[in-house]
Assembly symmetry: C2
DNA sequence: TGCACACTGTGCAATCTTGCACGGAGTGCA
DNA sequence: TGCACTCCGTGCAAGATTGCACAGTGTGCA
């Protein structure tokens, strides 16, 4: 935990400014109606700089901060005795708790998405990177090979799905139901082997 | 089953020509090194026409024919008595059998993908549409609401994942192992509730 | 056969996305 | 303090996507 340093801080400021401008403009006009040029202008940086921080427009909406490896960190904190599925589940709960700590902004983001179904595929694409990181973290914990063995990739894949479905339901219920409980339902269904509709 | 008609046939010809040109050029140079302009030229149509058939370059590689609703059709053919998971599993086996009928081309496609990891997210994005269609087919069969109930979306999501992981393993083993068996392994793991690594 | 309509192929313009190169500011070390 | 190195912000150009409008051909119907 060393001090970030001025350069790093400035970088994060720029990213935060871009993310904030994106959210504000997207809530107002819809993400697809907002051009990268407008976002950059609103954040006070050049057009090209936007793409130094985000590879696609959608990323500026969904990754306000560099949140890579969040899951891996939380997973490492779990009791080593725990089997993979419960451990991963607990780690994801921590991730969701982080989201819940900024719930207003996240509900706004989900609203922007819900208003523009065309964005969905792009978001799934974004999630692929997280899924890969999750698979690697699980592989590391279980001592399996992420590229050869079935388990890490499959578990990461289905948990990503559960997460996606959960966020979707959470937003549709206006953020009323605890994220925690909704996610628990999805994982319970998975752990039970998807026997049939539990409604 | 009405005759397609000349217009429809011409359209499919154009699509097939574009898909064939894409596969050939991609195998030769890698997909990202091939421009849409080159593909269109090789297929004898204009640049713009390419995007009348495919919304992204990757689609020309992975959807040589309009294969929408394939899963839904196969699912409808299953015994109505079958529970959702076995029924969906059987339907997907039929889909895989279709792929296997053109295995050389499909192994080539998977090779192109394996050679360019950057393509992966894009492909997942493409798969989103199929997943949605799958969820709707499952919802229709179970009488659930695809937007409200958890089950259809979750089952479709995890089966899509299983499919993706399966194709990946199939290709990595040079297409030697029967697609059928690899897919069976993945679904078995799911149906068992992902209890732990089975290697 | 001849007409009205629908749909494919095409051209053009606005954006998005990415690779390359440069200049200036932050960082570590003498 | 001064030097060498790294990295962020920027400009430019090529290629990927998408919306809009038009022309020509296939289709259905009189």
């Amino acid at each position: 935990m060393t001090t970030p340093g001025l350069r790093e801080r400035k970088k994060q400021d720029t990213r935060a400014a871009l993310a904030a401008a994106t959210l504000r403009l997207a809530v107002e006009h819809g993400l697809s109606a907002v051009t990268v040029e407008q976002i950059a202008a609103a954040a006070g940086v050049s057009y090209r700089t936007f793409f130094n921080h985000f590879s696609v427009k959608e990323e500026a909406l969904l990754r306000p901060a560099g949140t890579e490896r969040t899951f891996a960190v939380h997973l490492a904190e779990q009791d080593p005795q725990l089997p993979p599925l419960p451990a991963a589940r607990a780690a994801l709960r921590s991730v969701l708790a982080d989201l819940d700590a900024d719930r207003e902004a996240w509900l706004q983001r989900l609203s922007v998405i819900a208003a523009e179904p065309d964005l969905l595929p792009r978001l799934v694409e974004l999630g692929t990177a997280d899924e890969r990181a999750m698979a690697e973290a699980i592989a590391a914990r279980t001592g399996l090979d992420v590229d050869t063995d079935l388990y890490p990739g499959l578990l990461a894949a289905v948990l990503s799905c559960a997460l996606r479905v959960t966020l979707n339901r959470w937003h549709r219920r206006g953020g009323q139901e605890p994220l925690d409980r909704l996610f628990g339902e999805a994982v319970d269904a998975l752990a039970a082997g998807l026997p049939g509709p539990a409604a």
